[in-house]
């Protein structure tokens, strides 16, 4: 679906293209018709959004809503503060994402090991995935973040940030391992046959033939899980870590106003949209390369 159906084609940029099914070749409209359809799209957009705006702002309680959620002054004051606290979230998700990628792949490979010798490893990986996918992330964060420092074990870090990263990694590596596993299983068995027939061992086949193809295929769903991980970093606020959500809650409590939460929402939207568009672009590129293979 294009916005205008004409040459003013922004669908690639903003990702409004229809998903699924082969990409249809774009019709080239005659110039007159193209201009006309662009103008119609523009006019109808202005009318629809104009009416919506009038309807909302003229409703009787609008000024209360505006004051509680959209206070310009409070927004301007809280944005720099929440942005600063967001550094903690960035550190949390960047470290957890790298660890998740590694642990998730290890779990997926362990689950795919054949033969009776590897049964214990398969069992461990399966139980791990079942457990950490089933239990709410908040619970894992609380268990590790409050529980382990309270034990005060010798040689074990008591840093809450450390345990927050571990908790996020445990939960998300369980999801990510399933994504990897689907990718590994999607590589046709004939690829393994070809590699093994050349004398490559099972592990070499995984390493050089299966996993590289699998990862290419699962990048879009992996990025999707990363969006989830980024958002779940706010759960760490329950441990008392001053990250973006806790910071905004402090301002909210002081000002008795919800605008700081909207600043937080805006920050997450702004960092997530590029990732979502990147995902769309990767999917589109993948589809194009598959078409070229005929």
């Amino acid at each position: 679906m294009t916005l205008s159906g004409g040459p003013l084609d922004t669908s690639d940029l903003i990702g409004l293209e229809s998903r699924g099914g082969p990409r249809r070749s774009r019709r080239r409209l005659p110039p007159g018709e193209a201009v006309r359809s662009t103008l119609v799209a523009l006019a109808s957009t202005v009318v629809v959004f104009g009416l919506l705006g009038i309807a909302i702002t003229s409703s009787p309680n609008w000024s209360d809503v505006q004051h509680a959620f959209f206070d310009g002054a409070i927004f301007a004051e809280s944005l720099p503060k929440v942005l600063e606290a967001f550094g903690t979230n960035i550190a949390l998700f960047l470290i957890a994402e790298v660890l998740t990628l590694v642990v998730g792949l290890m779990l997926a490979v362990l689950r795919g090991l054949p033969g009776p010798v590897f049964f214990p490893l398969r069992l461990i990986a399966t139980v791990y995935v079942d457990f950490f996918r089933a239990v709410p992330g908040l619970l894992i964060i609380a268990l590790l973040g409050f529980g382990i420092p309270a034990l005060d074990l010798p040689g074990v870090p008591n840093d809450v940030f450390f345990w927050a990263v571990i908790a996020l990694t445990l939960v998300y590596s369980a999801y990510v391992s399933e994504v990897y596993r689907a990718g590994i299983e999607s590589v046709h068995w004939s690829q393994e046959a070809a590699a093994r027939s050349l004398g490559l061992s099972r592990l070499q086949t995984l390493r050089h033939v299966i996993v590289p193809q699998a990862i290419r295929r699962v990048i879009p769903p992996l990025l999707n899980d990363f969006i989830g991980l980024q958002k779940d970093t706010v759960l760490v606020s329950t441990l008392g870590v001053v990250e973006i959500f806790r910071e905004s809650s402090i301002i909210k409590a002081a000002k008795f106003n919800f605008t700081p939460y909207l600043a937080v929402a805006l920050v997450f939207v702004v960092i997530t949209i590029p990732l979502a568009r990147l995902t769309d672009w990767l999917i589109a590129r993948d589809r194009a390369s598959q078409l070229s293979q005929r």
Binding site: A195, R196, L198, G199, L200, H208
Partner: protein
């Protein structure tokens, strides 16, 4: 034939998939430098036989002996065995995420431990010999089917196998691309490569094979030199099969 160790000896090979018995006692011997073609209708067990020889399928009963070594014995290192036996598949099975060069050099580097420079030099020489020197940096999806299949053959040859198995390697090709692949196989036969070839190309089989085996329902029904097999088959089933092939214009 002189009584030396055969390149390949198959004895009483049985293979079932579930309840379906695909190979019902195959006995076959290939001498050094011999080319044997397997013919027979789809589902007669040709592909399964080749896959068993390369240990890609576990066998249920029987023995497979390569150059005097029983490869179906318990505890043999299958990776070592497979280095000596090359296989080329109907669907090429090139690695789509690697360049042509990397497709060819992966196994020499990782299995034989060749340095990249050496492996590259050898692969470029082999690819040059089949006229694909300008394609070494390309990815498989940029090549025609015939070119892809020739790369797959070179990939198998790069391991310097004693025995080459070809599994209907022209069946997935457009007719005009078949010749370039068969010419390469002809050249290999002239150079003395031992080959076991499952094929539907009867003209090719007649020309290249030392012997032709007709497989029917999991058994080798008839083995003969191509001149006899195609002009005066002994078995009724062979005759019916060849009549159908002639009717289809493939001979």
């Amino acid at each position: 034939m002189i009584a030396t160790t055969p390149a390949l000896r198959i004895e009483g090979l049985h293979k079932s998939f579930g309840d379906l018995e695909v190979l019902k006692g195959i006995d076959l011997e290939l001498g050094e430098h011999e080319v044997v073609c397997l013919i027979g209708s789809s589902g007669s067990g040709k592909s399964t036989l080749l896959r068993c020889v390369n240990l890609l399928e576990p066998i249920d009963a029987g023995r497979i002996v390569v150059e005097g070594d029983e490869i179906t014995a318990r505890g043999v290192d299958v990776n070592r065995i497979r280095r000596r036996i090359g296989i080329v598949f109907q669907a090429f099975n090139l690695f789509p995420h690697m360049s042509v060069l990397d497709n060819v050099t992966l196994a020499p580097r990782k299995v034989l431990g060749l340095a990249r420079a050496d492996a590259d030099a050898r692969a470029i020489e082999l690819l040059g010999r089949i006229g694909l020197a300008d394609k070494v940096r390309q990815f498989p999806d940029r090549l025609s089917g015939g070119q892809q299949q020739r790369v797959a053959i070179v990939r198998a040859l790069a391991m310097q196998p004693d025995l080459l198995l070809l599994d209907e390697i022209t069946s997935a090709l457009d007719p005009e691309l078949v010749a370039e692949v068969l010419n390469l196989i002809r050249e290999l036969a002239d150079n003395g490569m031992t080959m076991l070839i499952a094929t539907h190309e009867m003209t090719f089989a007649r020309e290249i094979a030392n012997r032709v085996c007709f497989l029917d329902a999991g058994q080798i029904l008839e083995t003969a030199p191509p001149s006899e097999m195609f002009s005066a088959p002994r078995e009724e089933r062979t005759r019916q099969f060849l009549d159908r092939v002639i009717a289809a214009g493939r001979l």
